[in-house]
Symmetry: C2
Subunit: 237 residues, 2 copies
DNA sequence: TTATGATTGTTCAATTTTTCACTTACTTAA
DNA sequence: TTAAGTAAGTGAAAAATTGAACAATCATAA
């Protein structure tokens, strides 16, 4: 009755980001003492389709019990394993400016089992100092390969101005790091097999501006907008 | 020869976020003095398909010139108009904690023509004070409706702990705000016609963890993973 | 022990998004 | 003025994602 399926299918990023969302929710439910939860319950919480949730989970195995739902604790443990959060990741933050400093203190890293091990900068005034509440050392960016090795860093956070992001990325990849969280608002080029997640506030912001700019009529028909106005004016036919 | 099409089709968020990306690039190209750019050029920059770029733009009109490409300045102006960045938006940040304070100083708002007009909090020690380099006043959250009206705030940023996000959202909506940037890592329920963009670092982070957790073999076949291992073990057949 | 109800895992259909490939239109050089 | 070359715009195909529907399976109560 134990079914363990290890599918080597491509899992889409849409799926994995939903897994993160489920995981967070399961943590809350477990804390509340809720023993089990159905896909329908979860779907209502997130305004998702219940079939989608079941399918997302089914990629990785059969975690549910028909007629019952999913046991919160158990599913939570599975998701932690699936997302690789059972193993600690060690983070190096490149750029000890305001953003880098803020991130060094960001508690969310620890919650996902990420440990910020080092900061890097090129500014001689910063190198050697400690930053933030947790007193993380700022190293010379030139020593990146050595520190990465010594501190077993496997995740880099790029928190430098856009103009420096590409060369920094190259140094990071050169140092053997395969996963990068990028805050610089610029497209980054890299050889395959490096995973880059870019966090770009501007895009979210401008999405809001677009929404507000739309004529009120269109906003109402949020989904399934009718084909109302289609004004075409052409000279020189 | 002037073609002005106002299609009332549903524009997907995938499209609008790409528009933001194009816009940023056009700004750089214009600054470099580049007069025109082809969809192929842009595609190469972003690792996108050129047809997709042409189609994204074609939703809103015919901005290009066949045989030439797109005139950078002109397309840039069009995108600014399309995204609604030609009109200033006024932002109220709810939560004057560390994140709220950091956002109050974030320069990216101004670049997209957003002006941070006010902070809000419930902490008596903060209310009435000014925060950040730009000295933005912290108001009592209870006075939200009045300040929103007086300051003509049309965008709210939710930077409060997850537990307070839902009631804050309701207050924000009550005050007549239709666009919300949410930093609280929690699903938010709202009536239709309110646009909420949630920024969630944890999801990006855990996406990296998932990537790192995958067996090396799978990482190599990033796209189009072959159906390699599919181990099924079952007791009680 | 069997019937009933609930909820998963999964197949198949619908929808959305991306890509291809072709037509149209503009530029430049002969 | 015409031919050749280039690149936008677009309809149709392909791929990816989502959603509906249902058989399979488990728990519970008669």
């Amino acid at each position: 009755m134990t079914v363990k399926i290890q599918k080597a299918e491509k899992i889409s990023e849409l799926t994995t980001s939903r897994l993160s969302v489920y995981l967070r929710c399961l943590g809350e439910l477990a804390a509340e003492g809720q023993k089990s939860v159905s896909s329908e319950d979860l779907a209502r919480r997130f305004h998702l389709n219940s079939a989608q949730i079941r399918k997302d989970l089914a990629y990785f195995g059969e975690f549910g019990v028909r007629g019952v739902g999913y046991y919160t604790e158990s599913l939570r443990d599975h998701l932690i394993k699936i997302l690789g959060l059972d193993e600690e990741h060690r983070v190096g933050i490149i750029g000890a400016g305001r953003l880098g400093a803020a991130l060094a203190d960001y508690y969310g890293f620890a919650r996902s089992n990420f440990h910020v091990a080092a900061l890097f900068d090129t500014d001689p005034n910063k190198i050697g100092k400690s930053i933030g509440e947790t007193k993380i050392t700022v190293y010379d960016l030139n020593t990146l390969p050595q520190v990465v090795k010594k501190e077993k860093i496997d995740v880099a956070v790029i928190a430098v101005p856009a103009a420096f992001a590409q060369p920094v990325l190259e140094a990071v990849v050169q140092a053997g790091i395969k996963a990068v969280l990028n805050f610089a608002p610029t497209p980054l080029n890299t050889s395959a097999n490096i995973k880059i997640k870019t966090v770009d506030l501007t895009i979210s912001l401008e999405g809001l501006a677009f929404f507000l700019a739309k004529p009120a009529e269109q906003q109402r028909n949020n989904k399934k907008a009718a084909n109302t106005a289609k004004t075409v004016s052409k000279e020189k036919e």
